[in-house]
């Protein structure tokens, strides 16, 4: 069973496609000193979907505060931004 040892999280960005979503979210991450390890982006039925694997080890603020900061940035961009520890996805989809 996985344990919460890693400092990796999945960030998902969902919403209507428009210019500047990736820039808006990644700028915030850079500001928070959160490193992007992998990024995929697609548009499914006009729904912009971006998924990032990030490392938050060097973040100076708590996980909770990062989540709040990203949610606020999401509101400005009119998209939903979530950050969840990667273990929830691994535990559900990997044996």
């Amino acid at each position: 069973m996985v344990e919460n040892k890693s400092h990796r999280a999945i960030i998902t960005v969902l919403g209507a496609d428009k210019t500047g979503i990736i820039a808006g979210v990644t700028a915030k991450l850079a500001e928070l000193n959160i490193n992007i390890l992998d990024i995929t982006q697609t548009t499914m039925q006009d729904l912009f979907t971006m998924i990032m694997l990030v490392d938050f080890e060097k973040s100076e603020i708590s996980f909770h505060d990062v989540v709040v900061a990203l949610e606020e940035r999401g509101k400005d961009l009119n998209v939903q931004v979530r950050m969840q520890h990667e273990d929830i996805f691994h535990s559900m989809h990997r044996i």
């Binding site: 069973m1 520890h85 273990d87």
Partner: protein, 453 residues
């Protein structure tokens, strides 16, 4: 890296299909809190609970944020109070319930379970006092839950306790009549009660348990319903079972993750994951709707028992693969008031009490959160309990009754409890008397299938 589809699936399960962790319950042993002086004992109980569970709520909230999974309830269960209070000279245990209530308030949990007694074979002095204190205790506290185990497969059915519980339920209803008899929603009568159940109102911390344990209850009827919807009406039962197993596996894995994480952060040993499907009154969170998704027009019609049997079994198969320690009730709950589909089925006249009883033969608990007319006699309530206990004892499974005889209400009325407890239509009961049967007292002997050694 994980696939986009997998990530989106998890997010959809949480946001659209109401996947959540229903409860993190910290079980706490009170065995070292017994004292010949009741007041001293209660002081020890308060101190121990508030010490061990001090960070329970905060830790639960942290986990909730980090994994992005709602954890609906944080709760506490304790050693059956009759065992602890029995050491004192007290002749009424209501004060113990008030102590539990205060400890629950201090810790910020919404329920505390364990105002309980295990009387399946007989009563101790403490058991008798606890039973007689239940109505008062439940009317004078907010968060305390009570349970009484009146039967086991090994011991048979304590019919004296069954007879008593009819009166206790009636009295509890009367004392909380101003709040739709809400006291009865916090009182469960069990057969073959599990000692590590995290779900209220029946949770307590068994005497064979460790000093403290983290038990987690998962939920997710909406996820299962959607899995069945996706494979369509033409899929055969093998495929239906497979779809449920996969959904149950995923749900339970999240429960396992949260349980391990809570246990690690709190420094309390990991007990079990209870992989029950627990409905709520919210839309898309109904066990009845899963059965209807399988192809029944309304829950309660012919075929319902078979559908529920398949569901309950597939949930266990999928869930047991996902967690290293499965326990508690683990199966499917079918409370009436807490499940939108069940309420509708009763209102349409399709789901009757007799059918509900049949359904309890193949699911994880029993007759749960259903309202009956206020003039139902204690003997009839006892007879309902006896029937349910018999199903549990003979089938070597847990069964339970949580019945609410609502004062002043009659068949067809609606009772509003609010919140997770929902709303209950008052169900008709049989009018013919069971009183001579119930007044026989004594014990129904253990069945022959108990003789396994």
């Amino acid at each position: 890296m994980l696939k986009t589809s997998e990530i989106i699936e998890t997010i959809r399960m949480i946001n659209e299909e109401n996947l959540d962790i229903r409860t993190i319950t910290a079980g706490i042993s009170l065995l070292d809190c017994a004292d010949s002086c009741g007041e001293k004992s209660r002081g020890k109980i308060y101190d121990k609970i508030t010490r061990i569970a001090e960070k329970l709520v905060k830790t639960g909230e942290q986990i909730e944020r980090e994994y992005g999974i709602p954890i609906i309830n944080k709760r506490i269960s304790v050693t059956p109070v009759s065992i602890i209070a029995g050491a004192s000279d007290d002749t009424d245990y209501t004060e113990y319930a008030k102590t539990l209530d205060r400890a629950a308030d201090t810790c910020g949990v919404n329920f505390i379970g364990g105002f309980s007694a295990l009387v399946h074979k007989g009563f101790t002095r403490g058991d008798r006092i606890l039973l007689s204190s239940i109505p008062q205790a439940l009317s004078e506290t907010e968060k305390v839950c009570s349970s009484v185990n009146i039967a086991t497969t090994r011991a048979g059915i304590n019919m004296e306790a069954v007879a008593e519980m009819g009166h206790i339920i009636k009295k509890t209803a009367e004392l909380t009549a101003d709040r739709e008899a809400i006291g009865c929603a916090k009182l469960v009568v069990f057969a073959n009660v599990p000692e590590d159940n995290p779900f209220m109102a029946g949770a307590f911390h068994g005497v064979g348990e460790s000093e403290a344990a983290i038990n987690v209850g998962v939920s997710g009827p909406g996820v299962v319903q959607n899995a069945i919807r996706k494979i369509g009406p033409d899929a055969d039962f093998g495929h239906v079972s497979e779809a449920i197993k996969k959904a149950a596996f995923k749900i339970t894995r999240v429960g396992e993750l949260v349980a391990r994480e809570a246990s690690r952060r709190l420094g309390i040993s990991f007990g079990i994951v209870d992989l029950s499907l627990a409905p709520t009154p919210a839309r898309g969170d109904s066990v009845a709707h899963i059965l209807e998704e399988m192809g029944l027009e309304t829950c309660g019609t012919h075929g319902t028992t078979a559908a529920l049997a398949l569901l309950n079994d597939a949930v266990k198969k999928g869930g047991s693969m996902a967690s290293s320690y499965v326990g508690g009730l683990s199966g499917s709950f079918i409370p009436v008031s807490e499940d939108r589909g069940m309420i509708d089925a009763v209102n349409r006249g399709v789901l009757t009490l007799d059918k509900l009883e049949a359904m309890t033969c193949v699911c994880s608990v029993g007759l749960d959160m259903f309202a009956v007319p206020g003039d139902t006699t204690p003997e009839t309530l006892s007879a309902i309990i006896a029937d349910e206990a018999a199903i549990g004892v003979i089938n070597q499974k847990t069964t339970a009754v949580r019945v609410i005889p609502v004062p002043g209400k009659k068949e067809g009325d609606m009772v509003e409890f609010g919140g997770l407890l929902g709303r209950a239509p008052v169900m008709p009961i049989h009018k013919a008397s069971s009183s001579i049967f119930i007044r026989r007292r004594g014990r129904i002997p253990a069945p022959v299938n108990a003789l396994k050694n």
